[in-house]
């Protein structure tokens, strides 16, 4: 990991309040593994927002690194107002990564909301390694969908669930996945999304390994402040930023 000052190449709205930002960094592009994230200092002089903001690296193309984010508060709003050429201070790559082997069978990837972003890079890598990949994407409605075309072009199947049924399956993406699971006999499952989604997946008690990328509020992003701890089994403590963000879903408590 390194502290990098990069220049924004592109920062565009790709859906309602959802942005895709890219910059060039040979170092990050070379060292990136799917699941890694960066901790971005949006404005050096700012005392509010104060902390860096963590974002998954969505995917990499050549030297170009892509971050996708939703405007939810002060920091992401400021970020969305930055334009091409402006500098941001990026600390990364951080955290562990998804297991990207060549698996003996189909792979399922499940994403909800902004949890979908890191899955682009993951699916690309899984395909590179010769896997068959089905991706399940959950959105509010057809209006809030993003990156679907990209997944379409990468994965074997892209299955959509929307809360209101305006596109694909009507209902939760976990139900959609569950309905397909027995049929497709996935060998391994990867997921990222809001806690209720991850909890629902955990509660399926899948007979195969399932890895989830988690979120907690972070101060340092590198394992020093212990703000992002979560409980493992017994009194084992994990730090989402340095031991994760990717965990075996059965090994951690998801509250």
């Amino acid at each position: 990991m390194k502290l990098l000052e990069v220049k924004i190449e592109e920062n565009v709205m790709i859906a309602n309040n959802i942005f895709l930002l890219s910059f060039e960094s040979e170092y990050l592009a070379e060292n990136f593994k799917p699941g890694n994230f960066v901790n971005i200092l949006i404005d050096k002089e700012s005392i509010y927002p104060l902390l860096r903001r963590p974002f998954s690296i969505s995917f990499v193309e050549g030297k170009r690194v892509y971050i996708g984010y939703k405007v939810v508060g002060k920091g992401t709003k400021l970020l969305s107002q930055k334009s091409k050429g402006e500098a941001i201070d990026v600390l990364g790559p951080l955290g562990n990564s998804f297991l990207t082997d060549t698996f003996d069978g189909k792979v399922a990837v499940i994403g909800g909301g902004v949890g979908i972003f890191p899955l682009v890079g993951l699916c690309k890598e899984l395909k590179n390694r010769g896997n068959k990949v089905d991706v399940f994407l959950g959105f509010r409605s057809i209006k809030s969908m993003f990156l679907v075309e990209r997944f379409n072009s990468i994965c074997n199947n892209t299955l959509i669930a929307t809360d209101d049924g305006s596109s694909g399956y009507k209902g939760s993406v976990v139900e959609l996945f569950k309905a397909n699971f027995s049929k497709e006999k996935y060998k391994i499952v990867f997921c990222c999304g809001p806690k209720p989604m991850l909890k629902a997946i955990k509660n399926l008690n899948l007979p195969v390994k399932c890895y989830a990328s988690l979120e907690e509020k972070m101060a340092c992003g590198i394992g020093a402040c212990l703000c992002c701890s979560i409980k493992g089994k017994g009194d084992k403590m994990y730090h989402v930023c340095s031991d994760g963000p990717v965990f075996d879903i059965m090994e951690v408590e998801i509250e």
């Binding site: 990991m1 390194k2 502290l3 200092l41 050096k44 005392i47 509010y48 927002p49 104060l50 902390l51 860096r52 600390l91 907690e216 509020k217 972070m218 101060a219 340092c220 992003g221 590198i222 394992g223 020093a224 402040c225 212990l226 703000c227 992002c228 701890s229 979560i230 409980k231 009194d235 403590m237 340095s242 509250e255």
Partner: protein, 300 residues
Amino acid sequence: MNLEVEIAGVRLKNPVIAASGTFGFGREYSKLIDISEFGAICTKGITLKKRIGNPQPRLCEVYAGIINSVGLENPGVEAFVNEELPFLKGFNTKIIANINGFTKEEFVELTKILGSLVDMIEVNLSCPNVKEGGMAFGKDPEKVYEITKSVKDVASCPIIVKLTPNVTDITQLAIAAEKAGADAISLINTVSAMAIDIETRKPLIKMVTGGLSGPAIKPIAVRMVYECFKKVRIPIVGMGGIMNYKDAIEFFIAGATAIQIGTVNFINPKAVCEIKEGIEAYLERKGFNSIKELVGNINI
């Protein structure tokens, strides 16, 4: 420019110290910066036994600050000595162990174990994030006296006593620590604080209240350093909201012999270098020969 300072015979090559709990045991930041840049590193708070700390959420951001409630998660003193200390010793910086007991006896025990292994011990009588010990002790001058004295009796290295700002008169704590033989005091620990998510009506910290750090608390910290400087003769290690060299200079003028930087590490891991350079340039510009000339040098 001479940035060397001395605390109870321990020479720090510069007065910038990594604040406890914000720098782990140095391992993580060592991948990012040369941690020998620090005059000293104060470790994450250590307890006798391993602690898993407080439940999530432990952190939230507020105007110009953060509230944390880590609750002294740490591997316990044995793991610290065996696994962390050898690594830290590999750097050209002093090591200050931040110790936390839930009884006087635990403080004594920790001091016995660590006294000969580290350069200094910081006795944390001010953690707001545990129910017993910590701040519960640290608000009472008599307890501060008692624990400091017990620790000093067995200490084979200098003792810094870390004070809480959540009191009516911090100078009473400072005086108690000095009387009991403390070699230095450090202040301030975090300010007890609270924030609420108005959408869920839940506190943003699971333990309801937590400790406020960062720029918001700086004027409170400067005031307390100044108050203590007028009342005690032992060196003061000042901290609270230092973001840059200008903030640091305020603490020296108010009476701090050395400073600690905490929250800023999360934001700018290179802050230590920038602050040192800034202090140096300031001293030169103002015609001082050493940082010592600045300590308590206020124009009233």
